[in-house]
Protein backbone atom coordinates (compact mmCIF):
# COMPACT_ATOMS: atom_id res chain seq x y z
CA UNK A 1 0.00 0.00 0.00
CA UNK A 2 1.15 3.49 -0.70
CA UNK A 3 1.53 5.60 2.38
CA UNK A 4 -0.59 8.76 2.40
CA UNK A 5 2.47 10.88 3.06
CA UNK A 6 4.03 9.86 -0.22
CA UNK A 7 0.75 10.33 -2.02
CA UNK A 8 1.17 14.00 -2.90
CA UNK A 9 4.70 13.75 -4.09
CA UNK A 10 5.14 15.69 -7.29
CA UNK A 11 6.84 14.26 -10.33
CA UNK A 12 10.46 15.31 -10.78
CA UNK A 13 10.69 18.69 -12.47
CA UNK A 14 12.78 17.57 -15.40
CA UNK A 15 10.41 14.71 -16.19
CA UNK A 16 7.46 17.10 -16.38
CA UNK A 17 9.13 19.84 -18.34
CA UNK A 18 10.47 17.80 -21.22
CA UNK A 19 7.90 16.50 -23.65
CA UNK A 20 9.59 13.11 -23.34
CA UNK A 21 7.34 11.97 -20.52
CA UNK A 22 4.40 13.33 -18.61
CA UNK A 23 2.73 12.12 -15.44
CA UNK A 24 -0.94 11.38 -15.98
CA UNK A 25 -1.78 9.72 -12.67
CA UNK A 26 -0.13 10.53 -9.36
CA UNK A 27 -0.07 8.23 -6.36
CA UNK A 28 -3.18 9.95 -4.99
CA UNK A 29 -4.99 9.54 -8.32
CA UNK A 30 -4.10 5.85 -8.43
CA UNK A 31 -5.32 5.39 -4.87
CA UNK A 32 -8.64 7.12 -5.60
CA UNK A 33 -9.13 5.11 -8.80
CA UNK A 34 -8.52 1.84 -6.94
CA UNK A 35 -10.96 2.86 -4.21
CA UNK A 36 -13.66 3.55 -6.81
CA UNK A 37 -12.92 0.26 -8.64
CA UNK A 38 -13.21 -1.62 -5.34
CA UNK A 39 -16.69 -0.17 -4.77
CA UNK A 40 -17.64 -0.89 -8.38
CA UNK A 41 -16.58 -4.52 -7.99
CA UNK A 42 -18.72 -4.92 -4.88
CA UNK A 43 -21.64 -3.22 -6.59
CA UNK A 44 -21.42 -5.32 -9.77
CA UNK A 45 -21.10 -8.49 -7.71
CA UNK A 46 -23.89 -7.43 -5.29
CA UNK A 47 -21.58 -8.06 -2.35
CA UNK A 48 -18.39 -9.95 -1.78
CA UNK A 49 -19.66 -13.52 -2.16
CA UNK A 50 -17.50 -15.84 -4.32
CA UNK A 51 -15.23 -13.01 -5.35
CA UNK A 52 -11.63 -13.69 -6.42
CA UNK A 53 -9.10 -11.15 -7.67
CA UNK A 54 -6.43 -12.54 -9.99
CA UNK A 55 -3.56 -10.20 -10.82
CA UNK A 56 -1.54 -10.65 -13.99
CA UNK A 57 2.23 -10.42 -13.33
CA UNK A 58 4.00 -8.33 -12.78
CA UNK A 59 2.07 -5.15 -11.94
CA UNK A 60 -1.42 -6.60 -11.97
CA UNK A 61 -0.68 -8.66 -8.88
CA UNK A 62 0.21 -5.79 -6.50
CA UNK A 63 -2.80 -3.89 -7.85
CA UNK A 64 -4.99 -6.92 -7.05
CA UNK A 65 -3.54 -6.96 -3.53
CA UNK A 66 -4.35 -3.29 -3.06
CA UNK A 67 -7.88 -3.81 -4.35
CA UNK A 68 -8.34 -6.72 -1.94
CA UNK A 69 -7.18 -4.54 0.96
CA UNK A 70 -9.71 -1.90 -0.05
CA UNK A 71 -12.48 -4.51 -0.31
CA UNK A 72 -11.55 -5.77 3.14
CA UNK A 73 -11.69 -2.22 4.50
CA UNK A 74 -15.32 -1.86 3.40
CA UNK A 75 -16.41 -5.40 4.21
CA UNK A 76 -14.71 -6.84 7.30
CA UNK A 77 -15.86 -10.39 6.48
CA UNK A 78 -13.34 -10.46 3.61
CA UNK A 79 -9.95 -11.99 4.23
CA UNK A 80 -7.75 -10.11 1.74
CA UNK A 81 -5.18 -12.94 1.62
CA UNK A 82 -7.78 -15.54 0.69
CA UNK A 83 -9.25 -13.78 -2.33
CA UNK A 84 -6.10 -12.72 -4.17
CA UNK A 85 -4.17 -14.82 -6.63
CA UNK A 86 -1.65 -14.41 -9.38
CA UNK A 87 -2.27 -15.68 -12.89
CA UNK A 88 0.71 -16.06 -15.21
CA UNK A 89 -0.19 -15.88 -18.88
CA UNK A 90 3.29 -16.20 -20.42
CA UNK A 91 2.77 -19.68 -21.83
CA UNK A 92 -0.55 -18.70 -23.39
CA UNK A 93 0.64 -15.65 -25.30
CA UNK A 94 0.22 -15.58 -29.06
CA UNK A 95 3.54 -13.80 -29.64
CA UNK A 96 5.91 -16.29 -27.97
CA UNK A 97 7.60 -17.07 -31.26
CA UNK A 98 8.24 -13.42 -32.08
CA UNK A 99 9.89 -12.15 -28.93
CA UNK A 100 12.96 -13.17 -26.96
CA UNK A 101 12.24 -15.97 -24.52
CA UNK A 102 10.10 -14.86 -21.62
CA UNK A 103 10.65 -16.50 -18.28
CA UNK A 104 7.35 -17.70 -16.89
CA UNK A 105 6.13 -16.19 -13.64
CA UNK A 106 4.30 -17.93 -10.84
CA UNK A 107 0.65 -18.84 -10.98
CA UNK A 108 -0.71 -18.96 -7.45
CA UNK A 109 -4.40 -19.45 -6.88
CA UNK A 110 -6.27 -19.07 -3.60
CA UNK A 111 -6.87 -22.44 -1.94
CA UNK A 112 -10.56 -22.20 -2.78
CA UNK A 113 -9.80 -22.79 -6.46
CA UNK A 114 -11.63 -20.91 -9.21
CA UNK A 115 -14.60 -23.19 -9.92
CA UNK A 116 -17.91 -21.30 -9.66
CA UNK A 117 -16.17 -18.14 -8.49
CA UNK A 118 -16.51 -14.66 -9.91
CA UNK A 119 -13.03 -13.83 -11.14
CA UNK A 120 -11.88 -10.27 -11.51
CA UNK A 121 -8.75 -10.15 -13.64
CA UNK A 122 -6.56 -7.23 -12.65
CA UNK A 123 -3.93 -5.67 -14.89
CA UNK A 124 -2.19 -2.34 -15.11
CA UNK A 125 -2.67 -1.30 -18.73
CA UNK A 126 -5.24 -2.51 -21.25
CA UNK A 127 -3.89 -2.01 -24.77
CA UNK A 128 -4.27 -4.55 -27.57
CA UNK A 129 -6.25 -6.96 -25.39
CA UNK A 130 -3.92 -9.85 -26.19
CA UNK A 131 -2.73 -10.33 -22.62
CA UNK A 132 -6.34 -10.64 -21.51
CA UNK A 133 -7.05 -13.17 -24.25
CA UNK A 134 -4.09 -15.20 -22.98
CA UNK A 135 -5.42 -14.85 -19.43
CA UNK A 136 -8.84 -16.16 -20.49
CA UNK A 137 -7.14 -19.19 -22.06
CA UNK A 138 -5.08 -19.73 -18.92
CA UNK A 139 -8.23 -19.62 -16.78
CA UNK A 140 -9.97 -22.26 -18.88
CA UNK A 141 -7.16 -24.71 -18.05
CA UNK A 142 -7.48 -24.06 -14.33
CA UNK A 143 -11.20 -24.58 -13.89
CA UNK A 144 -14.59 -23.10 -14.71
CA UNK A 145 -15.34 -19.78 -13.08
CA UNK A 146 -18.94 -18.56 -12.93
CA UNK A 147 -18.01 -15.22 -14.48
CA UNK A 148 -14.86 -13.37 -15.44
CA UNK A 149 -14.58 -9.60 -15.22
CA UNK A 150 -11.73 -7.27 -16.01
CA UNK A 151 -10.39 -4.37 -13.96
CA UNK A 152 -7.53 -2.24 -15.29
CA UNK A 153 -5.83 0.85 -13.97
CA UNK A 154 -5.44 2.43 -17.40
CA UNK A 155 -7.27 1.80 -20.66
CA UNK A 156 -5.20 3.32 -23.44
CA UNK A 157 -7.29 2.14 -26.39
CA UNK A 158 -5.98 0.57 -29.63
CA UNK A 159 -7.73 -2.74 -29.07
CA UNK A 160 -6.91 -5.56 -31.47
CA UNK A 161 -9.42 -8.03 -30.06
CA UNK A 162 -13.08 -7.76 -29.02
CA UNK A 163 -12.25 -7.28 -25.34
CA UNK A 164 -13.44 -4.54 -23.00
CA UNK A 165 -12.77 -3.76 -19.35
CA UNK A 166 -15.57 -3.78 -16.78
CA UNK A 167 -13.78 -1.46 -14.39
CA UNK A 168 -11.35 1.20 -15.60
CA UNK A 169 -9.22 3.49 -13.43
CA UNK A 170 -8.69 6.01 -16.18
CA UNK A 171 -9.36 6.09 -19.90
CA UNK A 172 -6.24 7.48 -21.47
CA UNK A 173 -6.36 8.56 -25.12
CA UNK A 174 -2.91 7.80 -26.53
CA UNK A 175 -1.15 7.53 -29.81
CA UNK A 176 0.15 4.04 -30.49
CA UNK A 177 3.67 5.44 -30.73
CA UNK A 178 3.52 6.55 -27.10
CA UNK A 179 4.36 4.29 -24.20
CA UNK A 180 2.36 4.09 -21.00
CA UNK A 181 4.46 3.23 -17.96
CA UNK A 182 2.93 2.25 -14.67
CA UNK A 183 5.32 2.51 -11.74
CA UNK A 184 4.37 0.98 -8.42
CA UNK A 185 6.15 1.25 -5.10
CA UNK A 186 7.43 -2.16 -4.11
CA UNK A 187 7.81 -3.47 -7.68
CA UNK A 188 9.90 -0.84 -9.42
CA UNK A 189 12.72 -0.75 -6.92
CA UNK A 190 13.20 1.14 -3.70
CA UNK A 191 12.15 4.78 -3.74
CA UNK A 192 9.81 4.37 -6.70
CA UNK A 193 6.59 6.29 -6.16
CA UNK A 194 3.26 5.20 -7.60
CA UNK A 195 2.61 6.97 -10.87
CA UNK A 196 1.45 6.49 -14.43
CA UNK A 197 3.57 8.19 -17.08
CA UNK A 198 3.13 8.66 -20.80
CA UNK A 199 6.38 8.63 -22.71
CA UNK A 200 6.60 9.95 -26.24
CA UNK A 201 7.55 7.41 -28.84
CA UNK A 202 11.10 7.33 -30.13
Amino acid sequence: MSSPSAAFEEAPFNAASANVSRVVLTAADIDRALTRIAYEILEANKGSANLLLLGIPRRGYPLAQRLAAKLAATDPTIDPQAIVGQLDVTMFRDDLAHHPTRAPERTALPVSGIDNKVIVLVDDVLYSGRTIRAALDALVDLGRPRAVRLAVLVDRGHRELPIRADHVGKNLPTSSSEKVRVRLAGIDGPGAADQVVIEAGA
Partner: protein
Protein backbone atom coordinates in the same frame (compact mmCIF):
# COMPACT_ATOMS: atom_id res chain seq x y z
CA UNK B 1 21.38 -20.51 -25.29
CA UNK B 2 20.79 -22.32 -28.54
CA UNK B 3 21.62 -25.90 -27.56
CA UNK B 4 21.98 -27.75 -24.28
CA UNK B 5 25.04 -29.93 -24.71
CA UNK B 6 26.81 -30.03 -21.36
CA UNK B 7 26.84 -28.30 -17.99
CA UNK B 8 30.45 -27.16 -18.13
CA UNK B 9 29.58 -24.31 -20.49
CA UNK B 10 26.32 -23.48 -18.70
CA UNK B 11 26.57 -20.12 -16.96
CA UNK B 12 25.23 -19.65 -13.44
CA UNK B 13 22.51 -17.31 -14.72
CA UNK B 14 21.35 -19.79 -17.33
CA UNK B 15 21.41 -22.67 -14.86
CA UNK B 16 19.33 -20.71 -12.33
CA UNK B 17 16.97 -19.60 -15.08
CA UNK B 18 16.36 -23.22 -16.07
CA UNK B 19 15.79 -24.25 -12.45
CA UNK B 20 13.44 -21.30 -11.81
CA UNK B 21 11.48 -22.03 -14.97
CA UNK B 22 11.30 -25.69 -13.93
CA UNK B 23 9.86 -24.55 -10.60
CA UNK B 24 6.97 -22.84 -12.41
CA UNK B 25 6.58 -25.83 -14.74
CA UNK B 26 6.24 -28.21 -11.80
CA UNK B 27 2.93 -26.58 -10.91
CA UNK B 28 1.46 -27.68 -14.26
CA UNK B 29 1.50 -31.33 -13.18
CA UNK B 30 -0.93 -30.54 -10.37
CA UNK B 31 -3.50 -28.71 -12.48
CA UNK B 32 -6.77 -29.84 -13.92
CA UNK B 33 -5.46 -29.52 -17.48
CA UNK B 34 -1.84 -30.69 -17.43
CA UNK B 35 -0.90 -28.96 -20.63
CA UNK B 36 0.46 -25.61 -21.73
CA UNK B 37 0.10 -24.32 -25.28
CA UNK B 38 3.59 -22.77 -25.40
CA UNK B 39 5.15 -25.09 -28.01
CA UNK B 40 2.08 -25.78 -30.11
CA UNK B 41 3.05 -26.61 -33.65
CA UNK B 42 6.69 -27.35 -32.81
CA UNK B 43 8.17 -30.78 -33.44
CA UNK B 44 10.52 -32.48 -31.01
CA UNK B 45 12.36 -35.60 -32.14
CA UNK B 46 13.60 -38.05 -29.53
CA UNK B 47 16.62 -39.60 -31.19
CA UNK B 48 17.75 -42.50 -29.02
CA UNK B 49 20.72 -44.57 -30.13
CA UNK B 50 20.95 -46.16 -26.69
CA UNK B 51 18.41 -47.79 -24.39
CA UNK B 52 16.63 -45.56 -21.95
CA UNK B 53 13.44 -45.70 -19.94
CA UNK B 54 13.08 -42.65 -17.78
CA UNK B 55 14.95 -40.10 -19.88
CA UNK B 56 12.99 -40.85 -23.03
CA UNK B 57 9.61 -41.06 -21.29
CA UNK B 58 10.43 -37.93 -19.34
CA UNK B 59 11.35 -35.95 -22.46
CA UNK B 60 8.26 -37.24 -24.20
CA UNK B 61 6.01 -36.23 -21.29
CA UNK B 62 7.71 -32.83 -21.08
CA UNK B 63 7.28 -32.10 -24.78
CA UNK B 64 3.65 -33.24 -24.72
CA UNK B 65 2.83 -31.10 -21.68
CA UNK B 66 4.07 -28.13 -23.71
CA UNK B 67 1.84 -29.21 -26.63
CA UNK B 68 4.76 -30.00 -28.94
CA UNK B 69 4.49 -32.88 -31.39
CA UNK B 70 6.82 -35.73 -30.46
CA UNK B 71 8.45 -38.18 -32.83
CA UNK B 72 10.24 -41.06 -31.15
CA UNK B 73 13.14 -42.65 -32.89
CA UNK B 74 15.19 -45.48 -31.53
CA UNK B 75 18.14 -46.98 -33.32
CA UNK B 76 16.75 -50.48 -32.90
CA UNK B 77 14.30 -51.14 -35.68
CA UNK B 78 15.36 -48.12 -37.74
CA UNK B 79 17.62 -47.69 -40.74
CA UNK B 80 20.53 -47.14 -38.35
CA UNK B 81 20.68 -50.93 -38.02
CA UNK B 82 21.11 -51.00 -41.81
CA UNK B 83 24.17 -48.80 -41.44
CA UNK B 84 22.76 -45.29 -41.88
CA UNK B 85 25.13 -42.63 -40.63
CA UNK B 86 24.34 -39.95 -38.06
CA UNK B 87 24.59 -37.34 -40.79
CA UNK B 88 21.99 -39.00 -42.99
CA UNK B 89 19.68 -39.56 -40.04
CA UNK B 90 20.06 -35.90 -39.06
CA UNK B 91 19.34 -34.69 -42.57
CA UNK B 92 16.25 -36.87 -42.71
CA UNK B 93 15.02 -35.16 -39.55
CA UNK B 94 15.89 -31.76 -40.99
CA UNK B 95 13.82 -32.56 -44.07
CA UNK B 96 10.90 -33.29 -41.76
CA UNK B 97 11.51 -29.85 -40.20
CA UNK B 98 12.18 -30.88 -36.61
CA UNK B 99 12.49 -27.91 -34.25
CA UNK B 100 14.41 -29.74 -31.55
CA UNK B 101 16.36 -32.96 -31.42
CA UNK B 102 16.79 -34.75 -28.13
CA UNK B 103 19.67 -37.09 -28.68
CA UNK B 104 21.12 -39.94 -26.68
CA UNK B 105 24.12 -41.60 -28.24
CA UNK B 106 26.70 -44.16 -27.19
CA UNK B 107 29.49 -42.00 -28.60
CA UNK B 108 30.75 -39.08 -26.54
CA UNK B 109 30.42 -35.88 -28.53
CA UNK B 110 27.68 -37.00 -30.93
CA UNK B 111 25.28 -34.23 -29.79
CA UNK B 112 28.02 -31.59 -30.16
CA UNK B 113 28.72 -32.89 -33.65
CA UNK B 114 25.04 -32.63 -34.50
CA UNK B 115 24.84 -29.10 -33.10
CA UNK B 116 27.94 -27.69 -34.79
CA UNK B 117 28.14 -29.56 -38.08
CA UNK B 118 25.40 -27.62 -39.84
CA UNK B 119 23.59 -30.82 -40.81
CA UNK B 120 20.52 -29.69 -39.02
CA UNK B 121 19.06 -26.37 -37.93
CA UNK B 122 17.18 -27.62 -34.88
CA UNK B 123 18.02 -27.02 -31.24
CA UNK B 124 19.98 -29.97 -29.90
CA UNK B 125 19.47 -31.27 -26.38
CA UNK B 126 21.94 -33.81 -25.09
CA UNK B 127 20.10 -36.64 -23.33
CA UNK B 128 23.34 -38.47 -22.52
CA UNK B 129 26.32 -39.13 -24.77
CA UNK B 130 28.77 -41.94 -24.03
CA UNK B 131 30.72 -41.15 -20.89
CA UNK B 132 30.68 -37.39 -21.54
CA UNK B 133 27.62 -35.49 -20.31
CA UNK B 134 23.98 -35.78 -19.31
CA UNK B 135 22.99 -32.18 -18.60
CA UNK B 136 19.26 -32.59 -17.95
CA UNK B 137 20.00 -35.29 -15.36
CA UNK B 138 22.41 -32.95 -13.59
CA UNK B 139 19.83 -30.16 -13.73
CA UNK B 140 17.10 -32.33 -12.24
CA UNK B 141 19.50 -33.48 -9.52
CA UNK B 142 20.35 -29.85 -8.77
CA UNK B 143 16.64 -29.00 -8.81
CA UNK B 144 15.95 -31.78 -6.28
CA UNK B 145 18.86 -30.65 -4.10
CA UNK B 146 17.84 -26.99 -4.31
CA UNK B 147 14.27 -27.77 -3.24
CA UNK B 148 15.66 -29.69 -0.23
CA UNK B 149 18.35 -27.12 0.56
CA UNK B 150 16.05 -24.11 0.45
CA UNK B 151 13.42 -25.95 2.50
CA UNK B 152 16.05 -26.54 5.21
CA UNK B 153 17.11 -22.90 5.08
CA UNK B 154 13.49 -21.75 5.05
CA UNK B 155 14.05 -19.59 1.97
CA UNK B 156 12.16 -19.65 -1.32
CA UNK B 157 13.92 -21.88 -3.83
CA UNK B 158 13.33 -19.56 -6.80
CA UNK B 159 16.52 -17.66 -7.53
CA UNK B 160 18.51 -19.67 -5.00
CA UNK B 161 21.62 -21.78 -5.48
CA UNK B 162 23.37 -24.56 -3.55
CA UNK B 163 26.00 -22.47 -1.77
CA UNK B 164 27.55 -24.42 1.07
CA UNK B 165 25.87 -27.74 0.33
CA UNK B 166 28.12 -30.78 0.79
CA UNK B 167 27.46 -33.36 -1.91
CA UNK B 168 29.06 -36.79 -2.14
CA UNK B 169 28.93 -38.60 -5.48
CA UNK B 170 29.94 -42.22 -5.01
CA UNK B 171 30.38 -45.17 -7.32
CA UNK B 172 31.32 -45.75 -10.93
CA UNK B 173 32.61 -42.27 -11.77
CA UNK B 174 34.72 -43.57 -14.66
CA UNK B 175 31.75 -44.53 -16.83
CA UNK B 176 29.34 -41.95 -15.48
CA UNK B 177 28.26 -38.99 -17.58
CA UNK B 178 25.88 -38.11 -14.74
CA UNK B 179 28.83 -37.59 -12.38
CA UNK B 180 30.68 -35.42 -14.88
CA UNK B 181 27.68 -33.20 -15.56
CA UNK B 182 26.88 -32.96 -11.87
CA UNK B 183 30.41 -31.98 -10.86
CA UNK B 184 30.40 -29.00 -13.22
CA UNK B 185 26.85 -27.86 -12.52
CA UNK B 186 27.16 -28.20 -8.74
CA UNK B 187 30.41 -26.27 -8.86
CA UNK B 188 28.63 -23.50 -10.80
CA UNK B 189 25.86 -23.45 -8.20
CA UNK B 190 28.28 -23.23 -5.29
CA UNK B 191 28.06 -26.72 -3.78
CA UNK B 192 31.07 -28.60 -2.46
CA UNK B 193 31.45 -31.94 -4.25
CA UNK B 194 33.41 -34.99 -3.15
CA UNK B 195 33.77 -37.97 -5.47
CA UNK B 196 34.16 -41.36 -3.80
CA UNK B 197 35.16 -44.37 -5.87
CA UNK B 198 37.65 -47.19 -6.06
CA UNK B 199 40.81 -45.91 -7.79
CA UNK B 200 40.08 -48.17 -10.77
CA UNK B 201 36.76 -46.43 -11.35
CA UNK B 202 38.12 -42.88 -11.42
CA UNK B 203 39.03 -41.37 -14.78
CA UNK B 204 42.47 -40.09 -15.67
CA UNK B 205 42.78 -36.39 -14.90
CA UNK B 206 40.15 -36.37 -12.16
CA UNK B 207 42.58 -34.28 -10.12
CA UNK B 208 41.82 -31.32 -12.39
CA UNK B 209 38.06 -31.46 -11.78
CA UNK B 210 36.59 -28.85 -9.43
CA UNK B 211 35.96 -31.36 -6.65
CA UNK B 212 37.65 -33.48 -4.03
CA UNK B 213 38.38 -37.15 -4.48
CA UNK B 214 38.31 -39.84 -1.82
CA UNK B 215 38.62 -43.61 -1.83
CA UNK B 216 36.96 -44.08 1.55
CA UNK B 217 33.17 -43.75 1.73
CA UNK B 218 32.94 -44.12 5.52
CA UNK B 219 35.49 -41.38 6.23
CA UNK B 220 33.69 -39.08 3.79
CA UNK B 221 30.33 -39.71 5.45
CA UNK B 222 31.84 -39.10 8.89
CA UNK B 223 33.04 -35.70 7.72
CA UNK B 224 29.42 -34.68 7.19
CA UNK B 225 27.30 -34.63 4.07
CA UNK B 226 24.01 -33.08 2.94
CA UNK B 227 23.32 -35.20 -0.13
CA UNK B 228 24.70 -38.56 -1.23
CA UNK B 229 24.37 -39.52 -4.84
CA UNK B 230 25.02 -43.16 -5.61
CA UNK B 231 26.01 -43.97 -9.17
CA UNK B 232 25.03 -47.12 -11.00
CA UNK B 233 27.76 -49.66 -11.63
CA UNK B 234 27.65 -49.70 -15.41
CA UNK B 235 28.39 -53.33 -16.09
CA UNK B 236 27.49 -52.93 -19.78
CA UNK B 237 30.37 -50.50 -20.29
CA UNK B 238 32.91 -52.53 -18.32
CA UNK B 239 35.29 -54.38 -20.58
CA UNK B 240 37.78 -55.21 -17.85
CA UNK B 241 37.60 -56.13 -14.20
CA UNK B 242 37.51 -52.95 -12.17
CA UNK B 243 36.88 -54.54 -8.80
CA UNK B 244 37.43 -58.07 -7.46
CA UNK B 245 33.83 -59.01 -6.71
CA UNK B 246 30.42 -57.42 -6.44
CA UNK B 247 30.31 -58.32 -2.74
CA UNK B 248 33.52 -56.47 -2.07
CA UNK B 249 32.27 -53.47 -4.04
CA UNK B 250 28.96 -53.43 -2.17
CA UNK B 251 30.74 -53.59 1.17
CA UNK B 252 33.31 -50.86 0.51
CA UNK B 253 31.52 -48.47 -1.84
CA UNK B 254 27.85 -49.42 -1.74
CA UNK B 255 25.33 -47.54 0.37
CA UNK B 256 24.19 -50.43 2.53
CA UNK B 257 22.05 -50.77 5.64
CA UNK B 258 25.02 -50.18 7.97
CA UNK B 259 25.81 -46.84 6.32
CA UNK B 260 22.13 -45.89 6.42
CA UNK B 261 22.17 -46.52 10.19
CA UNK B 262 25.46 -44.62 10.42
CA UNK B 263 23.74 -41.47 9.08
CA UNK B 264 21.36 -41.58 12.04
CA UNK B 265 24.26 -42.12 14.45
CA UNK B 266 26.00 -39.09 12.96
CA UNK B 267 22.78 -37.10 13.52
CA UNK B 268 22.63 -36.24 9.82
CA UNK B 269 18.84 -36.35 9.84
CA UNK B 270 18.46 -34.08 6.80
CA UNK B 271 20.84 -35.92 4.50
CA UNK B 272 19.15 -37.15 1.33
CA UNK B 273 20.09 -40.20 -0.73
CA UNK B 274 19.92 -39.78 -4.49
CA UNK B 275 20.26 -42.17 -7.40
CA UNK B 276 19.87 -41.34 -11.08
CA UNK B 277 18.45 -44.80 -11.78
CA UNK B 278 18.19 -47.51 -12.86
CA UNK B 279 19.33 -48.95 -9.52
CA UNK B 280 21.27 -52.14 -8.94
CA UNK B 281 19.66 -52.93 -5.61
CA UNK B 282 22.08 -54.73 -3.32
CA UNK B 283 25.13 -53.57 -5.28
CA UNK B 284 25.60 -49.77 -5.05
CA UNK B 285 22.51 -49.18 -2.92
CA UNK B 286 20.60 -51.41 -0.53
CA UNK B 287 16.84 -51.77 -0.79
CA UNK B 288 16.22 -50.23 2.60
CA UNK B 289 18.29 -47.17 1.63
CA UNK B 290 16.54 -46.85 -1.73
CA UNK B 291 13.11 -47.07 -0.10
CA UNK B 292 13.91 -45.00 3.00
CA UNK B 293 12.41 -41.62 3.73
CA UNK B 294 15.76 -40.08 2.81
CA UNK B 295 15.60 -41.41 -0.72
CA UNK B 296 14.72 -38.90 -3.44
CA UNK B 297 14.74 -41.40 -6.31
CA UNK B 298 11.09 -40.86 -7.21
CA UNK B 299 11.06 -37.07 -6.69
CA UNK B 300 14.06 -37.00 -9.03
CA UNK B 301 12.01 -38.70 -11.73
CA UNK B 302 9.12 -36.31 -11.12
CA UNK B 303 11.40 -33.28 -11.25
CA UNK B 304 12.90 -34.63 -14.46
CA UNK B 305 9.72 -33.79 -16.37
CA UNK B 306 9.67 -30.21 -15.00
CA UNK B 307 13.35 -29.61 -15.77
CA UNK B 308 13.00 -30.98 -19.30
CA UNK B 309 9.92 -28.83 -19.86
CA UNK B 310 11.98 -25.83 -18.81
CA UNK B 311 14.85 -26.76 -21.13
CA UNK B 312 12.53 -27.32 -24.09
CA UNK B 313 10.62 -24.12 -23.40
CA UNK B 314 13.73 -21.97 -23.06
CA UNK B 315 15.37 -23.44 -26.16
CA UNK B 316 12.31 -23.50 -28.39
CA UNK B 317 10.20 -20.52 -27.48
CA UNK B 318 11.35 -17.04 -28.15
CA UNK B 319 12.47 -15.57 -31.37
CA UNK B 320 12.94 -18.30 -33.90
CA UNK B 321 16.56 -19.08 -34.65
CA UNK B 322 17.63 -16.90 -31.78
CA UNK B 323 21.40 -16.89 -31.52
CA UNK B 324 22.01 -14.80 -28.44
CA UNK B 325 21.62 -15.95 -24.88
CA UNK B 326 18.08 -15.14 -23.77
CA UNK B 327 17.98 -12.50 -21.10
CA UNK B 328 15.47 -13.30 -18.41
CA UNK B 329 12.76 -10.90 -19.45
CA UNK B 330 11.22 -9.51 -16.32
CA UNK B 331 8.37 -7.52 -17.69
CA UNK B 332 5.53 -8.17 -19.99
CA UNK B 333 4.89 -5.16 -22.11
CA UNK B 334 1.72 -3.17 -21.86
CA UNK B 335 -0.37 -5.08 -24.28
Amino acid sequence: MRHLLDTESLSRDNAIQILDTAQEMSAVGEREVKKLPALRGRTVVNLFFEDSTRTRISFEAAAKRLSADVINFSAKGSSVSKGESLKDTAQTLEAMSADAVVIRHWASGAPARLATSGWIDAAVINAGDGTHAHPTQALLDAFTMRAHWSQLAGTPSVGGDLAGMRVVIAGDVLHSRVARSNVWLLRTLGAHVTLVAPPTLLPVGVGHWPCEVSYDLDATLDAGVDAIMMLRVQAERMDASFFPSTREYARRWGFDDARLARLDELKLKDTIIMHPGPMNRGLEISSSAADSARSTVLPQVRNGVSVRMAALYLLLSGEMREQATPAPSNAKDNS
